[in-house]
């Protein structure tokens, strides 16, 4: 009897603690990640090695290919895509920049893409802190710019974004599966 009651007590406390922890947010299947220009800025900063100020930061979630056909299927052609997973992708500029000849004031924006086989239309939009592209509102667009698709040699398993230096400023490179695009940002 005593054993049974101990067991029941244990069971109750176990169930309680389990239900307590199950309320906590789980780990995402498509984890969030961040890229900066300059690359690895936070590490450079604590090592006093940053030679340029922080220009841009992108926050996005990284879906994985997992054997699926991505472009044209999972990500349908011609539709607005959140450029990642979960929350809409956020790009922040710490100074005014230019994209496609148009001035973009420093601040936070949402970045979407309309994916096609040879061309992606990149969309910079003012509606931040939102989920996916489900409530995408073209009235809040800051600009649209077409960029051409390049093929990567390798198959990129996890969607990746990174900044790179270019002749006129920087480029945001986006790669997944075997597609790669480069969004030019003039400083």
């Amino acid at each position: 009897m005593r054993k049974t009651s101990i067991l029941i007590c244990l069971l109750i406390s176990f169930t309680f603690s389990f239900s307590q922890s199950s309320k906590l947010p789980e780990m995402d299947k498509s984890p969030m990640d961040v890229s900066y220009y300059p690359n690895n800025y936070p590490i450079l900063k604590i090592q006093n090695k940053a030679t340029e100020p922080l220009v841009a930061r992108i926050l996005y979630s990284r879906p994985q290919k997992q054997g699926r056909k991505i472009f044209g299927e999972l990500v349908e052609y011609g539709k607005v895509w959140r450029l990642g997973a979960n929350e809409a992708t956020e790009i922040e500029f710490y100074k005014d920049v230019k994209i496609g000849g148009k001035k973009v004031l420093k601040g936070r924006y949402t970045l979407y893409a309309i994916v096609n086989e040879n061309i992606w239309t990149m969309i910079l939009n003012n509606d931040t802190d939102t989920w996916g592209a489900f409530k995408y509102d073209s009235k809040k667009d800051v600009l649209r710019i077409d960029v051409s698709v390049q093929k990567t040699d390798e198959v990129v398993e996890s969607m990746s974004m990174l900044f790179d230096k270019s002749a006129t400023g920087i480029s945001l490179i986006i790669a997944w599966e075997q597609m790669k695009v480069s969004l030019p940002i003039t400083l």
Binding site: L24, M27, Y41, L59, D129, W131, S160, L162
Partner: protein, 209 residues
């Protein structure tokens, strides 16, 4: 044949070394070991997801989902961006995370907290804006610190940029929590308890707007 074997061996050794180096870049330990992480040249390759993945917490909880569902028109009140290390059988507090030594409250970059309007945090007024948040853990209490040294890697705190401190008691959980977790427990539309939980330790920080 011998040459091929040798080449294979060399490449294996080389590969395992680079592999190890890659791993230490995503280090979640609060030791100084990743302070010496080599900064790679502008990435020519695509990285793998981080071992301690980044995550984001809003108040109101799941704000982007609420917004998408049309359940809110108001702007968000608070957002936290942090990375989530895992316990993996290790003793965390007093072990991996040393007592009395500043800890980044996560992994990788310093944990960032942004208040979108004026907040009251543990009774103190905090101006809207972006801060980093770190912690000095002790066995029975944590000192949580708001600091202005934004966009920094979490291994080093510039204490001169400390802005505000809050002391909170440590509570024990019944079960060990595998992933370091920050969550908002809603008290009202404008008031929340910010919860930090990992291993068998939990602390709470009241925030209202």
């Amino acid at each position: 044949m011998k040459k091929t074997l040798l080449a294979a061996l060399v490449s294996i050794v080389f590969f395992s070394c680079t592999e190890r180096e890659k791993k230490s870049a995503g280090n979640d330990t609060p030791t100084k070991s990743d302070a010496t992480v080599k900064v790679l040249p502008p990435a020519s390759n695509y990285t793998n997801p981080d071992r301690s993945p980044m995550d984001m917490v809003y108040f109101p909880t799941d704000y982007p989902l609420l917004k998408m569902a049309g359940k809110t028109n108001a702007p968000p009140l608070m957002r936290i961006i942090y990375s989530r290390p895992q316990k993996q059988g290790r003793q965390i507090f007093g072990g991996l995370v040393k007592y009395d030594v500043p800890w980044r409250l996560g992994a990788n970059e310093a944990t960032e907290i942004e208040f979108f309007s004026t907040a009251t945090v543990a009774g103190k007024t905090v101006k809207p804006g972006r801060y980093i948040l770190y912690c000095i853990p002790q066995e029975t209490k944590w000192t949580l610190v708001l600091n202005s040294n934004l966009y920094s890697w979490g291994l080093e705190q510039n204490r001169q940029k400390d802005m505000m401190q809050f002391e909170v008691p440590v509570e024990k959980t019944n079960l060990a929590i595998e992933y370091f977790t920050i969550a908002c427990e809603k008290k009202s539309d404008k008031s929340t308890t910010l919860i930090f939980i990992w291993d068998d330790v939990k602390t709470k920080l009241p925030v209202s707007f």
